[in-house]
């Protein structure tokens, strides 16, 4: 089997889900990469839990400010029209249904769209952060993750075995191997990464996948 997509290419595929005028929240980890690939001419407002609307990309050396960080504590730059607000207003935007899209990382996603992304069974402490608020408030939830764990176990599972973040909340999952939509009938395989076959994806996915009639290679 050919190697799957790099993290950058997964983020690049996620960018295609953005539309002009959307208010978008990017989760910590892989999703923060998305901010690096948004085209200049696409006006999307990025929201950060810690009270920013309208940040741009990750800041370069020389333009970093300790008071200006995204939810992953990375230094960011502002776009014209940005605003600041306190944490309760920030989560009013999330919980109140004002965020069009959130892109989150995950440990596991089930065929019902359950999400587990805040704690592994090995971790004692864990960190829920804003993920539970985001999955219940954002209009659409996209998960970006590696298709399997480091030890090769599927992350797309029949039932999540890790602590849940939310039930039935995920809309689509983009991995290094495929784009899968969560439907009432289970997981629908819509796109495969270049050089990856349906059989490759199924072999590394726990539940049975339904193959979309217009299955195609992922465009990047």
């Amino acid at each position: 089997m050919k190697a799957g997509l790099s993290s950058e290419l997964i983020a690049l595929r996620a960018v295609k889900e953005l539309q002009e005028g959307m208010y978008v929240n990017l989760g910590v980890g892989l999703p923060t990469l998305v901010s690096q690939f948004i085209p200049e001419d696409l006006e999307v407002m990025l929201h950060s839990e810690n009270g920013i609307l309208g940040y741009g990309s990750i800041a370069n050396e020389g333009e970093m400010d300790v008071d200006l960080v995204n939810a992953g504590l990375q230094p960011v730059v502002l776009k014209p029209g940005a605003s600041f607000f306190h944490h309760a207003d920030s989560f009013a935007m999330i919980r109140g249904g004002h965020i069009d899209l959130t892109i989150l990382g995950a440990h596991q996603v089930s065929e019902q769209g359950d999400l587990a992304n805040w704690k592994t069974p090995e971790e004692k402490v864990g960190a829920v952060g804003g993920a539970m608020d985001l999955v219940c408030g954002a209009k659409r939830v996209i998960v970006l993750m590696r298709h399997t764990t480091r030890s090769g176990k599927p992350r797309l599972v029949r039932q999540c075995t890790y602590p849940l973040t939310g039930r039935g909340v995920v809309n689509i999952v983009i991995t290094d191997l495929a784009l899968v939509e969560v439907t009432p009938g289970g997981l629908l395989l819509k796109e495969v990464a270049p050089g990856i076959s349906v059989a490759d994806v199924q072999a590394l996915t726990e539940p049975a996948l339904t193959v979309s009639p217009d299955l195609h290679e992922m465009g990047l």
Binding site: H87, F91, G129, M132
Partner: protein, 227 residues
């Protein structure tokens, strides 16, 4: 003349007793009152109940065994390889994990005299345990209780002798909420300005919520992970 400015950082936290509940503002390094936290460590109060977002605010207190209970949302380092005193001495501190938006709203409610509220956050997860439920707008919701504290330690950009505060960029985060929810609110500021210098249109925390103001040097240490 009203003057909430205290010159000495040790004096400003001097009367925080053992067993006090203490809110600490900040998100990573942004808006964290590091000088007040250090002063509290030095002051020696023990068995504290700390309410804060993340590990950045409490690590020195946990490392010095001052914390009995921690109510937090993200009590790990973003860089998971960095040693976490909560993980290393697991069980020494009672931990209450709260979804971030619920934590912020519980603090706002505490400061606003609202006893409790219902939110859909956490339904179907371990956060449900022991909480009342209603259905609103077709969604199941959990009962969440307000949080108040004996003391709130906040960090602002500028403050005046009346306790009016403004913040800088994303360093605002929890600080205005905690300022409202503390019985005693202490603000660490980068700069004390004369009354009248802060634009009334721009004041975020009106002085009514603030009891003491202390000037302290800004910490410029980063807590972040590169891609």
């Amino acid at each position: 003349m009203v003057n909430k400015v205290v010159a000495n950082i040790g004096e400003v936290v001097g009367d925080i007793p053992d067993g006090a509940s203490v809110m600490i503002g900040g998100f990573g390094q942004a808006g964290t009152p590091f000088n007040l936290v250090q002063a509290l460590v030095k002051q020696g109060a023990r068995d504290l109940v700390i309410i804060s977002n993340s590990i950045s605010q409490v690590a020195p207190l946990v490392e010095n065994n001052r914390v009995k209970k921690l109510i937090a949302s993200f009590p790990v380092w973003v860089d998971r390889t960095r040693p976490n005193p909560l993980e290393e001495e697991w069980g020494a501190v009672e931990l209450e994990m709260v979804p971030q938006g619920t934590l912020a709203e519980r603090i706002r409610a505490g400061g606003a005299g609202v006893a409790a509220f219902y939110v859909p956050t956490g339904v179907g997860t371990s956060m449900e345990q022991g909480k009342g439920k209603i259905t609103f707008d077709g969604k199941e919701c959990l009962l969440e209780l307000a949080l108040k504290a004996d003391v709130a330690l906040v960090k602002a950009y500028k403050g005046d002798r009346l306790g009016n505060l403004i913040y800088r960029m994303s360093a605002r985060n929890y600080n205005p909420l905690m300022a409202m929810a503390g019985n005693l609110t202490i603000a660490e500021v980068e700069e004390v300005v004369d009354v009248g210098q802060l634009d009334p249109e721009a004041i975020v925390t009106p002085g009514i919520f603030v009891d003491r103001v202390v000037k302290a040097p800004k910490h410029v240490e980063w807590v972040y992970r590169k891609n």
